[in-house]
């Protein structure tokens, strides 16, 4: 048995142990014992994933009672990479979860499902055939669904979140099942190696591609299958949301990669356009909704849709460009998608853990009632800040490197050697650049808002005022997450080399490490060395710091109890800008897309029409796709459900007539 196989077996055993431990330990010790076991389970995933990423091989066969092709788990390099990424997030989430002792998220159900969730998620990328892929996919879904139960008794919204999540997960699942089944039906096998034999030019391949894309897109929270996200993630405890939004989405990406790179490589150009369109719409819609959200977790949830949109944009660009033989740019776009996936996992997990820490300390997720947490929770603030930099794609974080790579790939994609590669690419690339640019700009606003409103300025509520820093066990994963966000940005060269190796021989982007740990993408001839950039900034900082220190010695800062505020003296915290008001200009600009609902209620003083006593303004932005696309369908279904009752109205005569008609039909048919 090789070490990879042993690692996978270890995950199975650890999962069982963790489940048993969660069931058997008393509530006093449960979080500690189960948390550590879950962390070990994730740790086993980290080790196995890393081994597989660097070329380790090993397989585990799952016995089955049905005469299917053998269910084999054997992660390749790409699978190892994804396993590594999700396990690292799982590790952070498990450690963070230990700190949740004695709250609802420390219940038996919560820890059992956490173990099951991590287990399923970590082994999906190890599958080498359809059935085991679907098996672990559904184990993952089951675990994540059960995880939502933590706060069900105290929040009425959990129930609807559960229903939405289950239904949308199942929708994705069925898309994936149907897609795989089409492939398996044509090729006659369920092993991925067998599926890969299908000619991508056939219509079955296209059908399967679209189905699989929708399925995996749903898991990756893409529009229009994202509707569960803003409902579910706010209901999940911070570490669960981190595991879902930081890790589980990567399984969706992995699925898409599996399709585009392994199963149906070299597909027609329109596949690429389709993926790009899906990604672009998701990115824009996601970030627009995130920028106007007031609930911190909703904001982060929509930002996941945005980032996954960008990942799919890169993936689509690579499919399109590969079809146009712009291989260098195509591979760079693929690499960018991977880079973004990895860095998104780091920063989004950290952000959600940060949000979890805020929720734990304040019990409040509405940004309009937060504020001033920077001084009260310095660790959380620092980690959240670093991760927010990553989410806003600013240097020197992993997010920046990824978006830079993506833009470079797109800019270099439409022409090879000065020649236009294709009309499609020449239209798609600039539009994609524009989309990414707008997305990046809005992401900037979003995270300035998230960080600035929550952690800076003055507390907007009593709870925020009384917030205290979280315990050490929760600070550790936050710190690790923040270090990862920055570390990925500082070491893009080795990271890119590892990612390139994961993509395998046919798709291997030509990247090298340059300088200390910079990235040199030979395929499109661009270089980036964040370490040097940081060093340069440090050099420039020296004189500035000297000037600051010199000035500070002679002119110390004076603290005034009140801000100047344009001269106003009765300034209360309520008069600050809130998250809602911060996004107000943007809501106006994108009025047509967001369709906010505004309620303005004016109370006049006595009879006077000119003197106003009080103005109450309420503005809410609902998910347009939910209200315009899903609601009508649901209402129709409900009406149909009521109407369908008439078919079963209790009359035995009616029931007998059904049978009678069926008999007559069968008689007529057999005598034809």
């Amino acid at each position: 048995m090789t070490s990879v196989a042993a690692g996978m077996l270890g995950q199975v055993l650890l999962m069982l142990t963790a489940v048993a431990a969660a069931l058997l330990t008393s509530s006093r010790w449960r979080s500690r014992v189960s948390g550590i076991l879950c962390a070990l389970l994730a740790g086993a995933g980290v080790v196995t994933g890393a081994l597989a990423l660097f070329g380790g091989r090993g397989s585990l066969t799952i016995p089955t009672a049905l005469p299917l092709d053998p269910l084999v788990l054997s992660p390749d390099r790409l699978g190892g990479l994804v396993m590594l990424v999700v396990s690292v997030v799982g590790l952070l989430a498990s450690l963070f979860g230990i700190g949740s002792a004695r709250v609802a998220s420390a219940s038996r159900t919560a820890w059992v499902s956490m173990a099951v969730f991590l287990f399923g998620m970590q082994l999906v990328p190890a599958a080498t055939d359809v059935v085991s892929f679907l098996l672990f996919w559904e184990i993952m879904t089951l675990g994540s669904t059960a995880l939502l139960l933590a706060h069900h008794a105290t929040r009425g919204t959990v129930a609807s979140a559960l229903v939405w999540y289950s239904a949308m997960s199942q929708l994705s699942f069925f898309f994936v099942v149907a897609g795989f089944a089409v492939l398996a039906g044509v090729t006659g096998g369920t092993g991925f190696a067998a599926l890969a034999t299908l000619d991508p030019a056939s219509w079955q391949a296209s059908l399967a591609f679209v189905l699989l894309l929708l399925g995996f897109g749903g898991k990756a929270e893409l529009v229009p299958l994202h509707v569960w996200v803003p409902r579910v993630l706010p209901e999940a405890p911070g570490h669960v949301a981190a595991a879902m939004s930081g890790a589980m989405v990567n399984i969706g990406v992995y699925g898409a990669l599996l399709v585009c790179v392994r199963l149906l490589p070299n597909g027609p150009a329109w596949w690429g356009v389709l993926v790009m369109a899906l990604g672009a719409v998701s990115a824009l819609y996601g970030i627009l909704q995130a920028s106007v959200a007031s609930n911190l977790k909703v904001l982060l949830a929509y930002s996941t849709t945005e980032n996954m949109g960008l990942v799919f944009l890169g993936l689509g660009a690579s499919v399109l460009l590969r079809g146009d033989h712009a291989t260098g740019a195509a591979d760079a776009a693929l690499l960018a998608a991977l880079l973004l996936m990895v860095s998104h996992a780091a920063f989004k997990a950290t952000l959600f853990l940060g949000a979890g820490a805020v929720a734990r300390s304040t019990g409040e997720m509405n940004l309009d009632r937060l504020g001033g947490l920077g001084s009260r929770m310095p660790w959380t603030a620092a980690a959240f800040g670093a991760a927010a930099l990553g989410a806003a794609a600013l240097p020197v974080t992993g997010g920046f490197v990824a978006e830079w790579m993506l833009l470079q790939a797109l800019v270099h994609g439409s022409r090879v050697g000065g020649e236009v590669v294709s009309v499609t690419a020449s239209v798609a690339m600039p539009l994609a650049v524009a989309v990414i640019a707008l997305t990046a700009g809005l992401a900037l606003l979003t995270f300035v808002k998230a960080y600035g409103i929550a952690f800076l300025a003055r507390p907007r509520s009593v709870k925020a005022k009384q917030a205290r820093e979280v315990p050490v066990i929760m600070r550790v994963p936050l710190a690790i997450g923040a270090i990862l966000v920055v570390g990925l940005g500082l070491l893009p060269g080795p990271l890119a080399e590892a990612l390139a190796s994961a993509l395998g021989p046919a798709f291997r982007p030509d990247v090298r490490t340059i300088g200390l740990a910079g990235i040199d993408a030979r395929g499109i001839d661009v270089v980036l060395d964040p370490t040097t950039l940081l060093a340069l900034a440090a050099v420039l900082l020296v004189p500035v710091l000297m000037a600051v220190l010199a000035s500070a010695r002679r002119h110390p800062t004076r603290v005034s109890p009140l801000p100047w505020a344009g001269g106003g003296s009765r300034l209360r915290p309520r008069m600050q800008y809130t998250a809602t008001s911060y996004a107000e200009p943007l809501v106006r600009v994108f009025d047509d897309v967001l369709r906010p609902t505004r309620d303005v209620e004016v109370t006049h003083v006595g009879e006077s029409r000119y003197l106003v006593e009080r103005v109450h303004v309420e503005q809410s932005v609902s998910d347009v796709i939910e209200t315009r696309l899903y609601r009508p369908v649901l209402i129709l279904a409900q009406r149909f459900g009521v109407r369908a009752r008439r078919a079963q109205n209790g009359s035995i005569h009616r029931y007998l007539s059904y049978s009678f008609l069926a008999l007559l039909v069968v008689l007529i048919v057999v005598s034809l």
């Binding site: 001033g372 920077g374 806003a392 794609a393 600013l394 240097p395 920046f400 978006e403 830079w404 833009l407 800019v411 000065g418 236009v420 020449s426 600039p430 650049v433 524009a434 989309v435 640019a437 707008l438 809005l442 900037l444 606003l445 300035v448 808002k449 960080y451 600035g452 952690f455 800076l456 300025a457 003055r458 340059i514 040199d520 001839d525 661009v526 270089v527 980036l528 040097t532 950039l533 340069l536 900034a537 500035v544 000035s551 002119h555 800062t557 004076r558 603290v559 109890p561 801000p563 100047w564 505020a565 344009g566 300034l571 008069m575 600050q576 800008y577 008001s581 200009p585 943007l586 600009v589």
Partner: protein, 320 residues
């Protein structure tokens, strides 16, 4: 190509360029204000008034509110450093690339955005309505400008085949026909509007207003004082100067140093100084004739510039 062409002479030139712009930026502001004052029939406060302002601010005790955090101290420094980085990286005096850090457009933009974010956070930190308002508007504009900025440079990068600014400038120097091609003209107009928005100039923002309803930039720095305010002002000026320098080098690339020589360095320094100051004066003249547009009309303006940039890219397929 890029990594091979590393020239160690780039380092002293970058330092010279930095020194020049630290000196030049306040002067540029002085020129702009003076030109405007003269056109409006005022005497003006002289070319060196910005320098004096900075000196005055540094020599004061900063006052900060009890509720504000370290951001009020760190933010201005971050803005200043990001602007200094711009001055080092942009091809202003010469186009010699620094080792490992080419003047890649996307890197430049993101460095600039660090300054933008620092400023926005400073605005939020004081916990006042004005600061938040300025920060909110500032970020909205920044978000909407970015597509224009990137697409414009995408269009400019097409003839050069790279997004490295120094190479783009070199290409224009070698092949001046590129400059007056429709692609370039459209892109330049779009870029100019984007830069006006980024640097809070008219018609997007009025740099000299303190009327609360119209403030963008000024609202954010209301709570800053002493050296903090000095860094904020200096950082913003440096950004303006550097971007104007970039714009001028794109319009008129002549005089830019491409190979190291002492004479070339002197010519480069002089050329960029003249170009920046002249452009600044022109900007000032232009601003006299412009009124600030309403905040909610700004998106229309930016959408227009975005359309121009997109047209530029499209034109590159039709014309070039």
């Amino acid at each position: 190509m890029i990594s091979g062409a590393v020239n160690l002479a780039a380092i002293p030139i970058a330092l010279l360029q930095l020194a020049l712009f630290v000196f030049l930026a306040p002067l540029l502001i002085g020129v702009i204000r003076q030109v405007r004052a003269r056109l409006e029939g005022r005497a003006g406060s002289g070319l060196w008034q910005p320098w004096r302002d900075v000196r005055k601010l540094v020599a004061k005790d900063p006052v900060r509110a009890a509720d504000s955090s370290w951001m009020l101290t760190v933010g201005p420094v971050a803005l200043l450093v990001s602007s200094l980085l711009l001055c080092v990286l942009l091809p202003l005096v010469g186009t010699l690339p620094l080792p490992l850090v080419p003047s890649d457009l996307f890197v430049i933009v993101s460095i600039m955005l660090i300054g933008v974010v620092a400023l926005a956070l400073v605005g939020l930190d004081a916990g006042t309505a004005f600061g938040g308002m300025g920060s909110s508007r500032h970020m909205t504009v920044a978000a909407l400008v970015e597509p224009t900025l990137l697409l414009a440079v995408y269009a400019l990068s097409i003839p050069a085949g790279t997004s490295t600014l120094s190479l783009i400038v070199e290409t224009r120097l070698e092949n001046p026909a590129v400059i007056i091609s429709p692609v370039s003209l459209l892109a330049m107009v779009a870029l100019a509007i984007a830069i006006m928005a980024e640097t809070s100039r008219l018609p997007i923002d009025n740099p000299s207003t303190h009327l609360e309803l119209t403030m963008l930039h000024e609202a954010m720095v209301l709570e800053a004082s002493g050296r903090d305010l000095a860094w904020l002002e200096l950082g913003s000026w440096l950004k303006l100067a550097a971007l104007l320098g970039l714009l001028s080098n794109l319009i008129l690339p002549w005089g830019v140093l491409t190979d190291f020589s002492v004479a070339g360095v002197l010519v480069g320094l002089a050329a960029v100084t003249v170009k920046v100051l002249v452009l600044g004066a022109l900007l000032s003249v232009g601003e006299v004739f412009l009124a600030k547009v309403r905040l909610f009309r700004v998106p229309e303006l930016l959408a227009g510039s975005f359309a121009l940039a997109l047209l530029a890219v499209t034109a590159s397929y039709l014309v070039a």
